[in-house]
Symmetry: D2
Subunit: 329 residues, 4 copies
Amino acid sequence: MKALLLKGPRELSIEDVPEPRPEPGWVLVKTSAVGICGTDKAFYTGSYPLFKKPIVPGHEVAGVVVSEGELKGRLVVSEINFPCGRCEYCRRGLYTHCPYRRTLGIDFDGGFAEYFVAPEQALHVVEGLLDPVEATQVEPLAAVLNAFAQYPPEPGDNVAVVGTGNLALLAAQVLKWMGVDPVVVARRGSSKAHYFEKMGFTVMSLDEVREYIKRRTPEGLGFDMVVEATGGTQGLDTAIEIARPRGVVHLKSTPGSKFTVDLTRAVVKEVRIVGTRCGTFREFRKAIELMSRGLVKPVITSVFEGIDSSVKAFEKSLSEGEVKVVVRL
Amino acid sequence: MKALLLKGPRELSIEDVPEPRPEPGWVLVKTSAVGICGTDKAFYTGSYPLFKKPIVPGHEVAGVVVSEGELKGRLVVSEINFPCGRCEYCRRGLYTHCPYRRTLGIDFDGGFAEYFVAPEQALHVVEGLLDPVEATQVEPLAAVLNAFAQYPPEPGDNVAVVGTGNLALLAAQVLKWMGVDPVVVARRGSSKAHYFEKMGFTVMSLDEVREYIKRRTPEGLGFDMVVEATGGTQGLDTAIEIARPRGVVHLKSTPGSKFTVDLTRAVVKEVRIVGTRCGTFREFRKAIELMSRGLVKPVITSVFEGIDSSVKAFEKSLSEGEVKVVVRL
Amino acid sequence: MKALLLKGPRELSIEDVPEPRPEPGWVLVKTSAVGICGTDKAFYTGSYPLFKKPIVPGHEVAGVVVSEGELKGRLVVSEINFPCGRCEYCRRGLYTHCPYRRTLGIDFDGGFAEYFVAPEQALHVVEGLLDPVEATQVEPLAAVLNAFAQYPPEPGDNVAVVGTGNLALLAAQVLKWMGVDPVVVARRGSSKAHYFEKMGFTVMSLDEVREYIKRRTPEGLGFDMVVEATGGTQGLDTAIEIARPRGVVHLKSTPGSKFTVDLTRAVVKEVRIVGTRCGTFREFRKAIELMSRGLVKPVITSVFEGIDSSVKAFEKSLSEGEVKVVVRL
Amino acid sequence: MKALLLKGPRELSIEDVPEPRPEPGWVLVKTSAVGICGTDKAFYTGSYPLFKKPIVPGHEVAGVVVSEGELKGRLVVSEINFPCGRCEYCRRGLYTHCPYRRTLGIDFDGGFAEYFVAPEQALHVVEGLLDPVEATQVEPLAAVLNAFAQYPPEPGDNVAVVGTGNLALLAAQVLKWMGVDPVVVARRGSSKAHYFEKMGFTVMSLDEVREYIKRRTPEGLGFDMVVEATGGTQGLDTAIEIARPRGVVHLKSTPGSKFTVDLTRAVVKEVRIVGTRCGTFREFRKAIELMSRGLVKPVITSVFEGIDSSVKAFEKSLSEGEVKVVVRL
Ligand SMILES: NC(=O)c1ccc[n+]([C@@H]2O[C@H](COP(=O)([O-])OP(=O)(O)OC[C@H]3O[C@@H](n4cnc5c(N)ncnc54)[C@H](OP(=O)(O)O)[C@@H]3O)[C@@H](O)[C@H]2O)c1
Ligand SMILES: NC(=O)c1ccc[n+]([C@@H]2O[C@H](COP(=O)([O-])OP(=O)(O)OC[C@H]3O[C@@H](n4cnc5c(N)ncnc54)[C@H](OP(=O)(O)O)[C@@H]3O)[C@@H](O)[C@H]2O)c1
Ligand SMILES: NC(=O)c1ccc[n+]([C@@H]2O[C@H](COP(=O)([O-])OP(=O)(O)OC[C@H]3O[C@@H](n4cnc5c(N)ncnc54)[C@H](OP(=O)(O)O)[C@@H]3O)[C@@H](O)[C@H]2O)c1
Ligand SMILES: NC(=O)c1ccc[n+]([C@@H]2O[C@H](COP(=O)([O-])OP(=O)(O)OC[C@H]3O[C@@H](n4cnc5c(N)ncnc54)[C@H](OP(=O)(O)O)[C@@H]3O)[C@@H](O)[C@H]2O)c1
Ligand SMILES: [Zn+2]
Ligand SMILES: [Zn+2]
Ligand SMILES: [Zn+2]
Ligand SMILES: [Zn+2]
């Protein structure tokens, strides 16, 4: 089959590789669409080292099950953590942290290929609910939901989202659904803020947010919760600054490089910084429901056609103003 | 009265100043002993800017109440946050974050003087329970307890303490009382590790801890909880490294300068970084009880006599190997 | 002034009494409207003993401030707990449990009179936001919000509300706002279920709910959260039955008499039963916001005019099918 | 092999039955000792209906693994929930609630026989750490730890234990280890209170506790946490009475029959009633550690020898003053 192989920074090519073979309990899936995420870009640009070389990237993936069984012929999305099911983390329900897991498109060949394999248990049917291109966004939406499942806002809380990328867009919509109308903190000259404005969100610069806090949050002390999703190493400083004493900062960015942050301020304010990552099957289900009911609408800025367009798609994904690039197979 | 005045970096002198006068509900306290804390040193060396200039430093303080009333003549320690009692933070019970509060020795004249004033409600009687010198350590012990009140370990958890200063010593003892026997992570050549060893704690270098984690924590993935108390900007990186997925990192250090940390790792592991600061009246009470029952023993490495020795005491507090310097008046 | 005096079971009369006089920090309020709540009925029928005899009942109250000051002339609603502000519960932020508090209409004369007094701090302006009759429902709505502030559902959770009275109606709407679409469990022949249906909620009998659970909740084991608001002593058994293992049961009913419940089942399922009561100033604010934005609409089934109609209003409030009876003054 | 068969209320006999055969992943264990728990008694007296008829009772069990494998020849204790490992509850880490589980001695033949079978994963080695008789108490100790894992006390909290049976004894010791010195509430004329006194615990009658609360708990309002372990239906009323506002009541008793309780009081005080049951592998490990380090010492009041003594042992277990009856095989 044809697959996109990443061999090192910027070394990306379509090659012919053997079709992967599912183990017992796993199935073969024909890829329908696959999105490019921050991690993919970090592997591509080299800000992350590769865990497997070469690797087929792609973990935001939808496809049709080929193997026999209950799921055969159905459009599915895949969780990305394939755990052992037996270790202590698995037994505690923390299977996304199983040290024996394989992670789709991270250390295990992913969705930028005609086929991929996954454990049946990791698949969620989206047929009749979502089209393949938008279905690729179930995975990041599940990651967003995971943050709020671990540390939910109280409905009516003052919440800010820092950043204007895909996660920020998903987070803002999820927050709205949860009874919270977030303020979005964008860079001056942001190339993506307009997507938020179109959806009716309040977008502000950091200076405006500082004013807002003084006037509109209790005693002028800041937001109950801040979601950091800038993709950079500076956003956390902003998030800590605008969080109130005892506030929660959801940290989503994974830039790879070191952060430089004033954490003395976090101690003095007693802020809690919560790192979160992939959703479990429960968040996948909620994500599918939210998207199929139209409560969360992913913004996909570019769709490429065919696996052969993947290299171009990666290049495109790096350009400013792109929220999400998806390749349809 | 005589007071120690700090006017800027390294500008410290004993001067004659008017005795402070208590407002209604406040009392005048004759200082018995006052300790030097990290914040005092940071003001002194200039790594923190002064909030008030000049300021009488000192918030680890014990003294005898002079004003008429129920407390007259009794040895007390003082909380350091003097809140308004009316704002939203006060009404929610978060009075240590009251934006209208005055903070003893921070933005309000503190204990390095013959007298200081404090609201009666902020005082806790230690007479007959503690001697004045050790009583100065109620305040930092309350700050340690506050961390565990907010995010307690489960008894029997794997916990590490990174750092070997005063807070680390107090935290280790509190953890032991809570059914947790912590591992202490010290620098090679540490000047203070021996205090922990004398108390029976296990002290390790970072390399040894890495080995320990592999062999002794579930699936070799790290500690359930890590207390960062190094006073520096490097300790957090260690803390995140040795915490397990979904582990809690208590962040206590307030070095002033920026931290440089690999927070991508914190996101991937879903670590929660919890900044905490001063205790409330509840932690003060528990601190007094723990110390008076001998369950926590502060380590005071140098005691100076008389307010006039304060400048020397400050210099001494900067030397390696000092855990806590206290001046007895 | 004219006031409604309750002297014992069914002993209710309009009498002339002296106008109450506000203490310092308190204000006199001219009553605009006052609702009848379950507690009022329980005092009236005698299922609760009176805490004060005679008492002016009424704690769901809106009025216009008469005393000089910032609030003069403005339409307000009142919190019902008037705490001491100094005790340990107050300082911890648990002021609704202050043992020295006075409670409006419970152990302190309430709103069924031409005037009542309250501390300025307990009042919330609703002028321009709510009309007096609906404003009476801010208080019960705050009580509902308090439950979810303490133990929030996760958005998308399976939640059931047992009961069809006023609290159930408010809870169902709040849940919807929080991203949860609750199932309402009504008695066969319920006199109030139609209010829920009109609002678009799914209403079921217990038998239907049992079927629903099997088909629609994970592994057929029940609801993540159940709100018990039947006003009776039987609803809790239902709530425990339909909650899933480790589910949360919000217990709101205060029938006075003893409950007879199969709690062995609660132990085996590891259910958490959470009793909750009055909201704090934070829930009052959210309640006002929710109602003024039309996100929660109280159902008021009867409005009586004038303090003289109060006895009739009480009688009416006992009849089946009444959700909420309010007297406008 | 010989086994004790329970066929209905008081119908207990030793019979010859086929040895159970382990499924793949399971092992055969030769019973060394087995304790009699409240549930066993409830089945025996008929206050619980049998889930399986006849059943071999016994879930507090230690034995030596007979089957080939890593565990062969080693003394082990067994968890009692044998889950499917695949359902949603299993994947969330709530495997003790797996609806497809088999439960040792409850709905699946247990330890009152020469042999029993269990999944290898459910077994915990105690060889060299515990003798078989005391090892039977790992299971109830794990159940106690489970309560505190879900809702831990804060160290230094005011905690009461209501009841004087085996669970109460284990809970009191665990609490002490956690930095809490509980008050034990016993019946007047209690037959078991002396065990607590011997261990140094403070034992009081309900009247004495009421006095204690007034004098020794903040504002005289009650305990932060109460552990209800009376085995009866009355203890919960006491527990709610003596808990403070917002306190936690751990409910452990499973009498089978209905409780009659004043839950209006629980609502007014905003008490949280937390039902908890079996521990997971994590609590089993902690239990073994606590017992092997001598931090928790089970009280075994009668030891019978040989499976043939089992019927007598059951009769004995019903007599007053018995804390725990164990049969050694
Ligand atoms: N933890 C998880 O669960 C998870 C899951 C998926 C991805 N991620 C990571 O999350 C991060 C965000 O990914 P993404 O795909 O949503 O977005 P992204 O493509 O990284 O875009 C973030 C955008 O935020 C804006 N921005 C950058 N710095 C900012 C600042 N200081 N203040 C305000 N706005 C700023 C920029 O857009 P403008 O041009 O509009 O300024 C930037 O393009 C990445 O690091 C990604 O790898 C994490
Ligand atoms: N948040 C709060 O509640 C609170 C309260 C009081 C103080 N503080 C702050 O907490 C910090 C600690 O104060 P402190 O008085 O306990 O201690 P400290 O005087 O700052 O001493 C910490 C000691 O830890 C050791 N250390 C430094 N870096 C280390 C590393 N990377 N790994 C292991 N050990 C390391 C050093 O001792 P060796 O010579 O033995 O290596 C150092 O002297 C300060 O920043 C202080 O201002 C916070
Ligand atoms: N804890 C708090 O914060 C708080 C605050 C305010 C009031 N309360 C208390 O909360 C309770 C509810 O008060 P409320 O004013 O909402 O309602 P309510 O007037 O007590 O009405 C509850 C209604 O629920 C229905 N119902 C009764 N038993 C039921 C059952 N077993 N299953 C299903 N439905 C049942 C009945 O209506 P149908 O005719 O439709 O069957 C009943 O009229 C009262 O005890 C009140 O005192 C508590
Ligand atoms: N949820 C779980 O995890 C779990 C696990 C195992 C067992 N259990 C259940 O927990 C309950 C307790 O079992 P157990 O074996 O510890 O004890 P138990 O044998 O039921 O003994 C409890 C003892 O408490 C005393 N007592 C009874 N009523 C009391 C009251 N109102 N106030 C104070 N003391 C009272 C009595 O002893 P005196 O003669 O001294 O008065 C009684 O014998 C049982 O229902 C059992 O089935 C639950
Ligand atoms: Zn695993
Ligand atoms: Zn304040
Ligand atoms: Zn009070
Ligand atoms: Zn299962």
